[in-house]
């Protein structure tokens, strides 16, 4: 029953390159390279006519941006580059300055008793503030908090934040939460 072996004609591969080339062009045209990046933020739940919770004045770090994109921290004009260090000083409050944030001992899982700052950043802006300026301030605030976390992680666990285990990262995040309140815009002179 053995049939005579038939020779297959070779498939021409000369056009393979052209086909692949066509596909490449299709992919270049229809796709984008850019990776989406940004600053994550969790908005507060919407509640109808609720009174703002009373927060001690010393526990608020007020950052104002007016419509000319001028910056004020705690009522005084400041530069964008000041924000980070002012925020860190406000949260850490090493000398227990009564004008800076209050610290309360709390037990945090994975860390133990920790003098956690009760401070909250209140970021206020005008309707006419530029989004770019607002983002710069947001960025500096996040940078301050990230540096606090890094420093604490180095001191407590001897490693930078991104080298810690997930549970440890969570603990450090609890110790230094992203407490930024983005108030409704006000008319700021």
């Amino acid at each position: 029953m053995a049939r005579k072996k038939r020779k297959f004609p070779q498939i021409a591969s000369a056009s393979l390159a052209d086909i692949a080339f066509l596909l490449i062009i299709f992919f270049i045209v229809s796709t984008t390279m850019d990776v989406d990046t940004g600053i994550y933020r969790l908005l507060p739940q919407w509640v109808d006519n609720v009174e703002a919770p009373k927060i001690n004045k010393r526990n608020t770090f007020v950052v104002l941006i007016n419509k000319n994109n001028d910056l004020q921290i705690g009522g005084r004009f400041a530069q964008i580059s000041d924000i980070k260090d002012r925020l860190k000083e406000f949260i850490l409050n090493p000398q227990d300055n009564p004008n800076l944030s209050e610290k309360k001992e709390e037990v945090i899982e994975g860390i133990g008793p920790f003098m956690r700052s009760q401070g909250i950043v209140s970021l206020q802006n005008d309707r006419g503030t530029d989004y770019g300026a607002y983002m710069q301030v947001q960025n500096e605030l996040v940078r301050g908090i990230n540096e606090l976390r890094d420093e604490y992680a180095a001191q407590r666990f001897g490693m930078k934040m991104n080298k810690l285990s997930e549970a440890q990262q969570e603990a450090v995040k609890k110790a230094f939460p992203t407490a930024i309140s983005e108030a409704e815009p006000q008319e700021i002179k």
């Binding site: 390159a17 080339f21 229809s30 796709t31 994550y40 908005l43 739940q45 989004y131 607002y134």
Partner: protein
Amino acid sequence: MSKFNPKGGKKETPGITTASLPDIMFMLLFFFMVSTTLRQNELKITTKLPYATEITKLEKKSLVSYIFVGSPRKEYAASLGTESRIQLDDNFAVVNDIRGYIAGEWEKRDEADRPKMTVSLKADEKTKMGIINEIKTELRKAEALKINYSAKKRSVETRNN
């Protein structure tokens, strides 16, 4: 000069072999397939994103909905002016449309994924905060609380410029 060609005959240049060309092309093709993502929206507005240093990558594109804010492109500027506009999907929208859009996006996702849904706010850096705040209020009302202020990476060295 014919040291290496003692017979002194005419030398023919060998043709470049094209056998490996398809392989090269396929390599390039795979590179592009892996490293890029499909374009999703046709932008009708221009958004020059702000720069930031403390950014994180948006994971799981399927869980992200986009809100674009910026001034209309040139071809639309004649009818719409240059004021900042909102774009949802492929169309211009107003602030009041956001809630419906979010509800629609919510419906599109699997039930398990819904809590992880993120709204990426792609706003031009020249946009005024008034419109951004209105959007934020609408998002809060629509209970889309996870948001991402889209920004581009800026190297640390040029931060204060």
